[in-house]
Amino acid sequence: MNAEIRKIAVWVEETHLEIGKTISPPTRKAVAVAVVANPFAGTYVDDLDPLMEIGAELGGMLGERCVLALGITPKQAESYGKAAMVGENGELEHAAAILHPKLGGPLRVAVEKGAALVPSSKKMGGPGQVLDVPLGHKDAAYVRSHFDGIEVRLNDAPRANEIMVAVAVTDSGRPLPRVGGLSAQKAEGKDGLR
């Protein structure tokens, strides 16, 4: 492991009822977070390769944690997303290095397939700050019922020299989708878009 992990946290959220309507089966979202040391806190470096390697490790590990927490097979995962919050001694580019070059490959293995771009967000922040992880269908980005997000926060992270990395996976879309667009049933899932 390149990543020096201080903490891992996993949340699962089930929605059984929405505006008086029973949701059966309940929609479920999982989000897994790793709090890791930022090897480049306080210093500017050109080469961010070590952070990219950390991203590769965390993409697989956090994706697997989500699938495990939902109690599903990888194939049953329907949407995903990723996000990072960098403590104050780092820089936004550190989040980009973790998230974009290498995190997606192992995550796609963890959720089987994953033709679509993994939606992402990033920010600088401190302990207790909210990070909103965007969600989109894993095989067809235009599936409108699966555009969503999930909020995470940890009261004690990220500290100044840390980075908080989040991966979210669901087994469902929004509880009561009815705004049209491409449906999951009609998506081909070949080009990642439709």
Binding site: A9, E13, H16, E18
Partner: protein
Amino acid sequence: MPDIEIRKIITSVEEIYHEGGPAAQVPLRRASITAVIRNPFADHFVAEITGFMDDLKPLGLSMAIRLVNLLGGDPAVVEGYGKGAIIGAAGELEHGALWHAPGGYAMRELLGEAKAIVPSAKKVGGVGARLDVPITHVNASYVRSHFDSMEVGVNDAPRANELAYVLVMTTGARIHSRSGGLLAEEIKGKDGLR
């Protein structure tokens, strides 16, 4: 008495490897479960509310079982516990107190010999309110290494007419516990205190 109407269930598990000191071989784990339910007493004063405690018993037990499962399924690994309630704005603090018996006894029953009182916190709050749920050793309230807490909260709950009831369990002492006091190995009596 009305049935329990669940809108959402949220679980979270934290694994803590270190907090700046030596990394533990076995991380400390903290788990929480929050049930967001309709408050049958919202919007008006109801004098007789105690019957709701019986209604809550099955919910309490199912939440405690899920918590143990989140920690691996063996009740013997549970060393700390706590409980809490956030009451939506159309309710009153007293509605949170209804959770003491069904929440506390559910955990104690499941953990077999748990002797210590289950520490608790409650408050009235709006959606996104956070609650710091206190944690103490399951058999002896004075065990200093196990005094801890876990922050919980949900971005969309509790709505005004809802209750968020929370249970928390942990697998051990604070990760770098070294502040003296009664040690877990020194627990003597059966009074739940020392």
